[in-house]
């Protein structure tokens, strides 16, 4: 009893001590913004990261900021864009923060003047290619890789580069006929983004495309449809697959393998923006800082399989571990207006036309 009393008496002192010596992993948000956020008491996020993948992150955020009620809406990237743009036009309540894997659409929103500026104290720890004008913030470092069926593809056959893949397909055209899969650039935004990056980076892209066409590549709109079909053996290998989803799935499914291409590996990043019309601005800033802080990034790098972007965070799925493995072959897609090039209608249609011709589908 006495001990409890003593503890109760000491507790305030203890708490003050903790507050006075800041935790180096905690977000460095200014006390003023945190106070403002707690007063707002609410935060609305539209996100393409599904609630199950984001769960460890959201839970920890709730523990760190119990006074901010987080309303987390997960939907696909087109829905995030449609819903936000419509709500903004109607001038009615919308999200306080948009967190989407459609990098180009996020940049478009910022470029169209929908995003507000924020000097995040975490900026110094994030690579500069991931930040644009203090308006768009890359938060993850997700490898774009090959995913293959371990039962049906021998270990020595697994391609280690884009050139390897093409060699493998050319050597066994019958075996791979209809067995290769990827996103449909015509119907999927991320698929389009990745293939245009390939076109820019792969010196032999013309040949690559033609080979995909020859084996009759199967094109889909969702990761689920592709990985399930690779796992079952209906398809053997997929290219331009998002590594974070593949790794989450591999933890349960022994049939799936992932291979990081060594000639070049694209890296995508989930981009966050805070809309100008955000109602709970401070809360949005607190969430953004949290996403970029060591505390948030450690969860992405170890529990959520989202791949942390901070070089100073260690763990299984982190930029640090990928850099150690892959070195300079990593090709992050910069968060910058360069992404807008293909939002120009005529350039986009032209690219798609050329893609269809190379594939022989037109």
């Amino acid at each position: 009893m006495r001990q409890t009393c003593l503890f109760a008496a000491l507790l305030p002192i203890l708490l003050i001590t903790i507050a006075a010596s800041p935790d180096p992993k905690a977000p460095a948000t200014s006390a003023q913004i945190v106070a403002g956020a707690e007063k707002e008491g609410k935060l609305v996020v539209y996100s393409t990261t599904d609630s199950a993948s984001a769960a460890p992150l959201l839970k920890d955020f709730g523990a760190a900021y119990p006074k901010i009620a987080l309303e987390y809406n997960d939907m696909n990237s087109t829905e995030v864009y449609n819903r936000f743009v419509s709500e903004a036009a109607a001038g009615s309540g919308s999200a306080d923060l948009l967190w989407s894997s459609a990098m180009d659409l996020q940049i478009k929103l910022a470029n169209d003047g929908y995003a507000q500026e924020y000097q995040t104290p975490e900026a110094a720890h994030v690579p500069s290619w991931a930040l644009w004008k203090n308006e768009a913030f890359g938060t993850t470092f997700e490898p774009i890789a090959f995913v293959y069926n371990k039962r049906l593809l021998k270990a020595e056959e697994v391609p280690q580069s884009h050139a390897d893949l093409i060699k493998l397909l050319k050597a066994n055209p019958d075996r791979f006929k209809g067995k290769v899969t990827s996103y449909d650039p015509e119907r999927s935004g991320i698929g389009f983004l990745l293939i245009t990056q390939d076109a820019r980076t792969d010196p032999a892209f013309a040949e690559t495309e033609k080979t995909y066409g020859k084996v009759g590549v199967k094109l889909y709109t969702s990761t689920g449809a592709m990985m399930e079909r690779i796992s079952s053996g209906e398809h053997l290998i997929g290219f331009n697959m998002i590594g974070s989803y593949a790794i989450a799935k591999m933890r349960k499914d022994p049939a799936l393998g992932i291979a990081y291409p060594k000639d070049y590996m694209l890296v995508m990043s989930r981009v966050a923006i805070i809309p100008k019309a955000a109602k709970h601005v401070n809360a949005a800033k607190v969430f953004l800082d949290y996403l970029l802080s060591v505390r948030g990034q450690e969860i992405m790098g170890n529990r959520a399989a989202l791949f942390s972007i901070r070089p100073d965070v260690q763990g299984e799925t982190t930029a640090a571990s990928l850099t150690k493995q892959m070195g300079s072959s990593l090709k992050p897609i910069p968060v910058s207006p360069a992404l807008l090039v293909y939002l120009d209608q005529s350039k986009r249609l032209e690219f798609l036309k050329q893609w269809q011709e190379a594939l022989g589908t037109k």
């Binding site: 599904d50 609630s51 199950a52 993948s53 309303e71 987390y72 809406n73 939907m75 696909n76 087109t78 829905e79 864009y81 449609n82 819903r83 743009v85 419509s86 709500e87 036009a89 109607a90 009615s92 659409l105 478009k108 039962r151 049906l152 015509e186 119907r187 999927s188 935004g189 389009f192 199967k218 094109l219 889909y220 709109t221 969702s222 990761t223 689920g224 449809a225 592709m226 990985m227 399930e228 796992s231 079952s232 053996g233 209906e234 989803y245 593949a246 989450a248 799935k249 349960k252 499914d253 022994p254 049939a255 293909y342 939002l343 120009d344 209608q345 986009r348 249609l349 798609l352 037109k362």
Partner: protein, 558 residues
Amino acid sequence: MRHAPQWHRILAVLITGTAVMLPLAIIVYQSLLDAPFFQPSAKLSLSAFRFVLTDGDFHRAFATTAILATGMTAVAVPLGAILAFLLVRTDLPGRNWLEPVVLIPIFLSPVVIAFGYVVAAGPVGFFTLWAKQVVGSAPWNIYTLLSLTLIAGFTHIPYVFLYTSSALRALGADVEEAASIAGAGAARIALTVSLPMVRPAILYSAVLVFFLGFEIFGLALVLGDPGGLLVLSTYLYKLTNRLGVPSYQLMAVVAVIIIAIAFPLVYLQRRLMGIASRFVTVAGKGFAQRPLRLGRLRWIAFGGVLFWLAATVLLPLSGVFLRAFVSAWGEGVRLTEVLTLENFRELSDYPNLVRGITNTLGIAVIGGALAVAWYAIVGLATHRWQSPWAKVMDYLVMVPRGMPGLIAGLAFLWVFLFVKPLSPLRSTLFSVWLAYSVVWLAYGMRLISSALLQIQPELEEAAAIIGAPGARVTRDVTVPLIRFGLLGSWLLVFMIFVREYSTGVYLLGPGTEVIGSLIVSLWGTGAIDIVAALSVVNVLLVAAGLAVALRLGVRLHG
């Protein structure tokens, strides 16, 4: 028979008309602009029509969709009508338990059914692998247009069955007995007497199925993608992405074109029904019906029904159930080594699972009841009403189902954003309910009207003659007489609402998740094992609900 004041009828039509016209008007307006309608820079223009109509992919998608819709109607309508005749009028074995089983394809999400087919009979499905061992190569390919049409036709048989069977029940058995006494066999009676007499119901279901064919999505996405089949609803994906940002004007054009198909269809249906009604006499059910004896045909017919059930329910469900209990499947997998309960354990940890299930059941049970109430009010208002207003309703109800889910969802978001008096309701479940109810108007209204048509006019006329005003006739005669019909309709609307999702996609938020939205977000990241487990739970829940309802005396038909 005429009731003096008609204002309440006109009011019911006007309210329903507004609910249908608001999303429709936004879509039509959007199709005539060159940018999103809410952008100040948007100008009137036919450029969207020009773009879509000159797009080779649109032509390809339209042709494929037309073949698909025609083919599935050609499959579903005759088979559904025969199924209804067999279950309602003959001594087919197992009639009682067959009826609820026949309805299963209605409440299953088409994406899940399609995926079940892939697991069971896809290129590396377990039945295909067995067949390969026996005959050496895969004897079928489920990714062709023919397979897609057959599967779509088979899974839409229940709609035809529903409307035809309730019409058959309302039909007096006297003519059939006369034919039987004159020596006609069961098959002849079906084709020359019974089915021609319920032609309006068959025609109605044909139009509905044809229309559902135009907005078919889940089946086409899962079974069409590997073969490169493009239908209108998957073509919309291209329009969303092709210009970089979603091009609402192009999507709206596609919706307008589909809706434009509705008008001649409904006109044709009304014409044919007008001719048909001269022959049809709906007599009372004063005497007990004796089922027609099928004789030798009895077991052949039973075998046919079982085959259809095996192909449409058992085959895809076996795929889904299997997927729920294994960690991997396909070529080179020994199923005994991969059995697991892990998927269910993981499902139980899924955030918001319980809330998703509760919300789905809530929207389906309570929302379903409210929808039936609305449909009943409109049904009663236009019941035996010879007026142009009633004619307008015939066209109106069919139109919303023509909007593909992808567009209907956006249209309802816009209604609740830009129609200011409605905007406070946007984040409430009312908005979701309204969207569901409007989209399924064609399905639900017909359930009500077939219940209403079973009442002999004499009963209402008798009440009117002794001086009861119109409202009183409705309250004391008509409604009590159709109460079992209403209960049955509630059950059927419940089943549709359980799986509906796309229309509400932009209106749902945290706290209002439904099973459909959980399935879609899991599917997106590749957690198909969990999708399968969730679908198993879904099937068991609805089956339990159905069993309880039937036990409690709710009949599928009044």
